[in-house]
Symmetry: none
Subunit: 405 residues, 2 copies
């Protein structure tokens, strides 16, 4: 029995609202060169008050030492152990979600590379000379036009950066069990589309015809005259949070990747702005419609990725200033945490545990007086796996029955 | 390999005694309205001395956020992961143990409801008008008399509260894989006894005849004229602690449910009083007979369930006063902890981790100066699953060999 199955077995209805506020990548590092983390340096009277009244702890996103991408990081917060095979989010899906494409259940998402082949069809450049993104847009338009009359499948195409693009394929009896066509070396032709499982044979056949049409349309391009396909994938096949816990879940996220992950867990995605003030305003409008609210703040992670500690501190202070409006709504349980750390000094995601704050009537008022990484070490919640947070949220909201008698 | 299998593989004999003192439900909450937990408020010079000399830590009974019943809570303390299917304790068994009925291995325990049916045999009340408990005693006596001449099975019957009673069935080739006969709605007859697995066919046949005899005996009752059966179950099928670890285990518990759980783990149940003083006196008498002593104190949980913080504090202080007598026996390892928290403010079991104190020659003398929830956060033992305690007890008692070379 998985952890989420155990919780699902115990889930019971209640009149209570849970708010999960994710400050993406907010976890930071203290080093000789940076003696205070962003959370320590930021002035956060409201977070600190919540820390005094509630419980602190820390979440390990995937496993000790493992740096999560945004997909696994968020799946953990939503109660799924991201190490489970069914929680695997394919690269095609992530790339598509990252470019803002909606992926419906059953659709297959694929990463495309433009490549160059010589007159004999042998690859001379697997990245089409790292063509500019503008070029890619132009060539993608050619593909779209060529596919307009192709009726066997619906194929949406979206340019990414440089030679990268994404395809989202829909049609009857589709399978994602298709091998990559990138041979990973030069001097050979792109690989044929082949099925990794018997049920994908028809998908390969139809898709081969589509690739033929696409490559015919770009045959006279100087660089981008071939198409390599990788990372065939579908949305993760997870039971929805509604089915598991009886929660009506709303996702309030300004960026597509996070909306995609939330949507794949069965949340309703509510259009909203990108900054915390706009997000909280939208939450207030929709307060009666949901009993679980996922709020996503991107700016903390972006600042960490940029190595911009000052911007990270400002992003945290902006969140703190928006908290009174959120607290006016009187959520029964409020959790503030992150999907992973993004230390400014590392300019990237990291594996370091993230601080967790829980506030609500059934939370132990521990000795922590402020919300930051070092204070959280002393907290009552201890150090948990991210996927264990869901049980604490449900319990604190009165939504879990007793286990055994 | 389960955790208890790993420990069993390493278990070695030793001349040492382990005492596990369970203060049922002693874990409590600090909130704005209750700024000190029961353990913080209680005056406990002896517990605090043990805390100074030994190690503190915290146990998570089942999983984060999961509130255990008494069965799973204690199975964890006895070294079994209560999430394992074989550790599942059925409702019939629990109800029977709770009413003080002994259940031997192989016996099947069932919950009964008295119900009312009309002249056509259709149910008009599944709870027999919520008859008074006194009435239930009278009707149960009728059942007992009627079954005296039934020789196919031995059936013990014990009235519970109001319309509830319990049956404990013994006989050759019994199976508990029998479906409930409660149709869960009115206007229909009680369901026939049907087997949930082929091996239960004979059980159903014999039991159907018993139900016929019982219902004939109460046919003229105005309310309780039918019998509904639910929760067919057996003792959990766990390897005994004696077989696993070579321990000779004695259970000293004043209440039947805890005796039943201990007994199902292979402990010998020693009759004793309900208060800590009486329990410790009995332990002293039996000191030479066992090398693992389970002492159960119920009053802490009862006070928590009653929302009576003062009574919880008094119960803790009563335990503290009895400690010198227990320590005179010089156990090699003494652990004090709980099966779960029962915060007075919640008046119910909860999921919050419970404090753990371990005292013995091989325990790290950490910086904790008192035994309570907040101090335990800082303890050397950290935060563990309850089922991990057994390994620490065995190790501290010199009863675990090295793993590998």
């Amino acid at each position: 029995m998985t952890h989420h199955d155990l919780l699902a077995r115990l889930a019971q209805p209640a009149q209570s609202r849970i708010v999960l506020l994710v400050l993406d990548g907010v976890g930071d590092l203290r080093t000789g060169a940076q003696p205070a983390t962003a959370l320590e340096a930021a002035v956060t009277p409201h977070l600190d008050r919540l820390a005094r009244e509630g419980s602190l702890g820390r979440l390990v996103p995937v496993a000790q030492g493992v740096t999560p991408g945004s997909g696994p990081g968020h799946l953990g917060l939503f109660g799924y152990d991201s190490r489970l095979p069914e929680a695997d989010i394919g690269r095609g899906v992530l790339e598509a979600l990252g470019l803002g494409l909606e992926i419906r259940p059953g659709a297959v998402a694929v990463r495309g590379n433009f490549a160059t082949a010589d007159a004999d069809g042998k690859l001379t450049d697997r990245r089409a000379g790292r063509m500019p993104t503008e070029e890619s847009r132009r060539v993608c338009d050619k593909l779209r036009v060529a596919l307009e009359s192709f009726e066997e499948l619906s194929i949406r195409i979206e340019p990414g950066e440089s030679y990268r693009f994404v395809l989202v394929i829909e049609g009857a009896d589709l399978s994602h069990r298709v091998e990559d066509t990138d041979p990973q070396r030069l001097g050979v032709a792109p690989l044929e589309l082949t099925a990794a499982a018997p049920e994908a044979a028809a998908t390969c056949e139809r898709l081969s015809r589509a690739v033929e049409i696409m490559e015919a349309a770009i045959a006279d391009e100087p660089a981008a005259n071939r198409v390599l396909l990788r990372g065939f994938s579908r949305l993760p096949d997870l039971p929805s949070m509604g089915d598991l816990y009886g929660l009506k879940c709303g996702a309030f996220a300004g960026y597509p990747l996070y909306r995609g992950v939330a949507w794949s867990c069965g949340m309703e995605v509510v259009p909203c702005g990108k900054r915390i003030g706009e997000i909280v305003e939208e939450v207030a409008k929709q307060w009666e419609r949901f009993d679980y609210f996922f709020l996503h703040v991107k700016q903390t992670d972006q600042a960490g990725e940029d190595g911009d500690l000052a911007a990270k501190i400002r992003a945290i202070e902006e969140v703190d200033a928006a908290l009174p409006r959120l607290l006016e709504l009187a959520p029964d349980v409020l959790a503030v945490t992150a999907d992973h750390s993004t230390p400014a000094s590392m300019r990237s995601h990291s594996w370091h545990p993230v601080p967790l704050l829980m506030h609500g009537a059934r939370c132990f008022a521990d000795d922590c007086r402020a919300f930051h990484e070092a204070a959280a070490i002393q907290g009552h919640l201890g150090t948990l796996h991210s996927y264990e947070l869901m049980g604490l949220l449900l319990a604190a909201a009165g939504r879990l029955a007793k286990y055994g008698a």
